[in-house]
């Protein structure tokens, strides 16, 4: 079974083209890091992959099935979970309610509870705060909750939009370590969008560098890290 295949994808916001002919593929179980500066089109890419944004042209398929035009809520049912930009938790709900939300569509209360227990094992701090409202959490805890909610949906493809945004360096390290161990443990396919290029590429199998809506380089993550020209131009050091 093939994983995620993106073929000549173009997306625009009104008159502005955000993505132009983007192509790449991610094998099942691989982690792809999508790197680029602010405004490169990374968030738009994830929003297109999770059904939040319509394409202009091109195709995207997941496990051999084209997902063009399928709504987000149905893509979740196909195993695609998107943790959107900015710690996507619902502040008005409790921590527990945010987690339960990820499992509602499965209508399997027992397995939702089991999934919540697994999330709490992974992020014990959430377990201590189950009854608090999500807006009492710190930035790092919110990110854990957002990822936790996605995991309760039992995804096969996890789309992560800048999980490191606005977090302290130590917390960023924890989050990346968690993503790395999670995907090996659960056999997840992951698309990780990041400005934090090095941390992302270090845990990635493949890297895709986007600039101004186009793929400027892609390939084995280790090779990208070691390419002096790319480092100078896009990785910022």
């Amino acid at each position: 079974m093939s994983g995620l295949v993106v073929n000549r994808l173009s997306v625009s916001h009104g008159a502005i083209t955000a993505l132009r002919g983007v192509s790449f593929s991610v094998e099942p179980g691989q982690l792809a890091a999508v790197i680029g500066s602010n405004g490169a089109g990374k968030t738009t890419l994830l929003r297109a992959l999770s059904g939040l944004k319509e394409f202009d042209s091109g195709t995207v398929s997941w496990q051999g099935r084209e997902i063009n035009g399928i709504k987000s809520e149905d893509l979740v049912r196909m195993g695609i979970s998107h943790v959107s930009e900015g710690k996507s938790v619902i502040a008005e709900l409790t921590v527990r309610e945010n987690l339960v939300l990820g499992g509602i569509w499965r209508r399997d209360k027992a397995d939702t509870e089991a999934a919540i227990r697994e999330v709490v094992e992974l992020f014990p701090r959430l377990g201590e705060r189950m009854k608090q409202s999500a807006d009492t959490l710190s930035g790092g805890e919110r990110q854990m909750l957002a990822i936790g909610r996605a995991l309760v949906s039992r995804p096969k493809l996890l789309l992560l939009d800048e999980p490191s945004l606005g977090l302290a360096p130590l917390v960023i390290e924890q989050i990346f370590a968690t993503i790395d161990s999670l995907r090996h443990k659960l056999g997840l396919t992951v698309v990780l969008v990041e400005q934090n290029a090095m941390s992302a590429l270090e845990i990635a199998d493949i890297g895709i560098i986007i600039n101004l809506g186009e793929v400027v380089a892609s390939g084995n993550a280790k090779d990208l890290i070691n390419d002096p020209a790319l480092r100078a131009a896009y990785l910022g050091y």
Binding site: S72, E73, S88, I90, V100, L101, G102, I104, A150, S153
Partner: protein, 298 residues
């Protein structure tokens, strides 16, 4: 002392009916960002359905059930046939802000006209579920009647049912999530547009209860619920528009306050006072008395 107590009891009875209308408006507002002026029309049509059943069965409670079902179906229909289509075309800009509100006003007029055509303008009534004569203690009779107590009890039951639905069930969680953060809800797998339609149906059913309860001691005409809409709206604003608890508290404040003005100041000031309260709240605390984020959680 007796008069204060009487006024308070009648105020609670009034406020509890306002609470239902206020709740219906808040439910729709939170999920759709539309102040649904058609709510009065939907409720009046549902109440006419109840009236038809009542005139055949003579039973208030059976007619109430039909009015609630009618209200829920009408509410769902308004969302599916009007709101969904409207939001598909008006996706941004002034049209998005103005079009839905104007549409609900138009719908209010339309429903009232249709009701007028079908049932005529004359006053109708339905059998009350309890006596309208005040309770008597020894030699004194108070204005608060068995009917008033049935109204308060019925509203309390509806409110308890709604709060259990919203806080204890997955459907309630989906309704809240869709209202607070539709995009995150969708990413979590919630079918938000169906969920929203369910919200409209619940609001419609609640409006049907309000219409039936008011009509049980009043008369029914195509315009008879307009005042209820106005007071429900004021109560919702006082409560902050976002919060269901706020809607109920706002309605109680309004019901009790207006009854005191009616009994102690001047009968003709009741209506005016409602608007004075509205304007004062909007000027002093536009988020409503309970319009904080905390209020929104409930």
């Amino acid at each position: 002392m007796q008069k204060i107590l009487d006024t308070l009891l009648i105020g609670i009875s009034q406020g509890s009916i306002y609470a239902l209308m206020s709740l219906a408006l808040v439910l729709v507002w939170r999920s759709t960002r539309v102040v649904n002026f058609a709510q009065a029309g939907q409720a009046v049509l549902s109440t006419y359905v109840g009236f038809e059943i009542a005139s055949r069965t003579g039973n208030f409670w059976i007619s109430l059930i039909f009015a609630v079902i009618a209200g829920a179906l009408i509410g769902a229909a308004v969302d599916v046939l009007l709101m969904r289509v409207l939001f598909k075309h008006a996706t941004s800009g002034p049209a998005l802000v103005v079009a839905p509100v104007i549409a609900t006003l138009g719908l209010l007029g339309l429903i009232r006209s249709i009701v007028g055509l079908v049932w005529g303008g004359e006053y109708r009534s339905i059998p009350a579920p309890a006596s309208k004569d005040g309770f008597t203690f020894g030699t004194t009779t108070i204005p608060f009647s068995p009917l008033n107590s049935v109204i308060v009890a019925a509203v309390a039951l509806v409110l308890i049912a709604i709060s259990i639905l919203f806080t204890r069930t997955n459907l309630g969680l989906a309704l809240r999530a869709s209202a607070y953060a539709p995009e995150i809800a969708r990413l979590a797998g919630v079918r938000t547009s169906q969920t929203r339609t369910i919200g409209w149906a619940i609001a419609g059913g609640v409006g049907g209860v309000a219409g039936m309860l008011i009509t049980s001691y009043n008369f029914l005409s195509p315009y008879s619920l307009d005042l209820l809409l106005v007071f429900g709206f004021i109560a919702a604003v006082v409560g902050g528009l976002e919060s269901m608890v706020g809607a109920v508290v706002g309605a109680m404040i309004l019901g009790i306050g207006l009854t005191f003005i009616l009994n102690y100041v001047n009968t003709s000031l009741t209506f005016v006072s409602g608007f004075v309260v509205l304007i004062i709240v909007l000027l002093v605390k536009p988020d409503g008395l309970i319009g904080s984020r905390k209020g929104r959680r409930a």
